[in-house]
């Protein structure tokens, strides 16, 4: 069974036509991979479907805009993987 990171890295590679081997756990989806908001909607849709969750993108964006969080917390892929694992765990709780 592939890890959460592998799943989202594969989704990003396929959705954004980014070479899979350039996507690492420390990659920042926006700053390093150059993913824009529209492409991220496609990625969010694929993640929602793959994990059976609803990524709270609006909440995250609001927290960043309010200075309560940094983009690193949500968009560095190892952190995104952790957030997804939390959402999956919360769904099953």
């Amino acid at each position: 069974m592939s890890s959460t990171f592998d799943t989202i890295a594969n989704i990003i590679a396929e959705t954004c036509d980014i070479p899979r081997d350039t996507i690492t756990p420390d990659s920042h989806a926006i700053n390093d991979l150059g993913i824009d908001s529209l492409d991220f909607l496609d990625i969010a849709f694929a993640i929602d479907k793959a994990f059976g969750i609803k990524l709270p993108l609006e909440q995250w964006t609001q927290e960043v805009n309010d200075g309560k969080a940094t983009t690193d917390q949500y968009f560095v892929l190892k952190n995104l993987s952790a957030r997804i694992d939390e959402l999956v765990a919360a769904k099953g709780a």
Binding site: L41, L55, L57
Partner: protein, 157 residues
């Protein structure tokens, strides 16, 4: 359909919030300056406007689903197909189904029919955002009444 005002939907025929589906209808105008260019001597409804017709139908569905609290905007279209020519004066039925509600966006599957035969379809990504201003929200409610979404368009809706 009033092409010059980008009002591509005439009426909502059916709205099912439980199934997250909508059905609308529209009639292509007999004359329009659009047809003078598309094409001279052979007027056809442009595919891009058929796509917008599907987007507006999807938009009414999503606006009704969120109780007229948020606006929707076409963000992306996938697998858009226009299977036959659509001409002036023809009557169309448009169906849309919301297949996924994400955070700040939704996915719809939309189809256009003429006399029961599918003439176009697409998968649409719609952004779902707060109304950018009160004027747009009011205009949206007014347009909702025009197309027959009266109950959902109430200010307290």
């Amino acid at each position: 359909m009033r092409l010059e005002y980008f009002q591509l939907i005439d009426r909502v025929i059916e709205l099912n919030l439980a199934d997250r589906t909508i059905r609308t209808e529209t009639t292509i105008p007999t004359t329009s300056t659009v047809f003078e260019g598309h094409f001279p001597g052979y007027p056809l409804m442009p595919g891009v406007l058929l796509l917008e017709t599907m987007a507006q139908t999807s938009g009414w569905l999503l606006v009704a689903m969120n109780g007229f609290k948020r606006a929707t905007f076409l963000a992306a279209a996938k697998d858009a197909k226009f299977r036959t020519f659509v001409r002036p004066s023809e009557r169309l039925t448009i169906e849309a189904k919301c297949t996924h509600e994400g955070s700040g966006y939704a996915i719809t599957e939309a189809k256009i029919f003429r006399d029961g035969k599918k003439v176009g379809d697409a998968t649409l990504t719609m952004s779902v955002l707060d109304f950018p201003n009160a004027d747009m929200e009011k205009q949206m409610r007014d347009q909702a009444i025009r197309v027959g979404l009266t109950l959902e368009a109430r200010a307290d809706g």
